[in-house]
Symmetry: C2
DNA sequence: TATTGTTATACTCTATAACTATA
DNA sequence: TATAGTTATAGAGTATAACAATA
């Protein structure tokens, strides 16, 4: 059992390694860093405050300030005053930003490619395993 | 089917995100950056040349130079002349480095923790799926 | 001449501490 | 006074270009 976990641990490492590398490559293909692509993705769903971005990206607020400033200077997002709280700011994606986010999703072929190698049953099994490991059932 | 892949893609994203965050946290716990921990892990197996490290870490050689220099200044690795080729250098782990690498493995509890949530059958299924997605059979 | 590694440089990511403005 | 965000600063990761030493 320990050996099974050990070997699985190595496979998991290799897979995450390949996943991260592919994400980084895709981001650079569209002219972004991985961190920028990540933030753009978060903002693409809906406007998000700076603080919320820091929470979701698991980093310091001062870091978010800089990444947003860079994306803003590229015209991909803009800051707007927070809805209720005069202190807060929301980051909103621009049309150009939405286009680039979509290009990024297209460029990041890794997940679809790899999942496409699995049988339907294997996909089901993988989905169940990920649910459990993410604490989403059981 | 497309929806299945889409949902699975999100689960995969979430899992990789959690994995990366956990690795980063573990590295910081032992006083390393993720990149430093990664290089130390590579060198822990056996001496590796600078160029080989660049290949394995998927980065430029000049980057490896800097990371190795930092690890060397912490006394965790050392450079030694290459075996056959007088131009090359091998990076060798020191006793202190080996201790820290082991501490890192202990600190990085994420894989074992999460795999421990799975049944034996689910682990088998996950292992098979990863093999296929990593192109290691079929 | 080609290759291994380093140096110089520049940009990005990241965090800490001090600060401004608002609550 | 507490909170949201920014600024200043510093260390680390990263790549490109120019370079040294060796093959």
């Amino acid at each position: 059992m320990v050996d099974q976990v050990g070997s699985l641990g190595q496979q998991m490492w290799d897979f995450v390694y390949a996943y991260d590398a592919a994400y980084d490559r895709a981001a650079r293909e569209v002219g972004l860093s991985a961190a920028q692509a990540c933030l753009l993705k978060a903002v693409a769903e809906r406007p998000v405050t700076m603080g919320e971005l820091a929470s979701r990206l698991l980093c310091d607020a001062s870091n978010v300030t800089q990444i947003v400033t860079r994306l803003e200077s590229k015209g991909l997002v803009r800051r707007q005053p927070g809805a209720r709280d005069g202190r807060s700011k929301e980051v909103v994606i621009t049309p150009d930003g939405a286009v680039l986010d979509e290009r990024m999703r297209v460029a990041f072929t890794f997940p679809v490619e790899r999942l496409g190698l699995l049988s339907s049953d294997a996909r089901d099994a993988l989905g169940s395993a990920l649910d459990v490991m993410l604490g989403r059932d059981g």
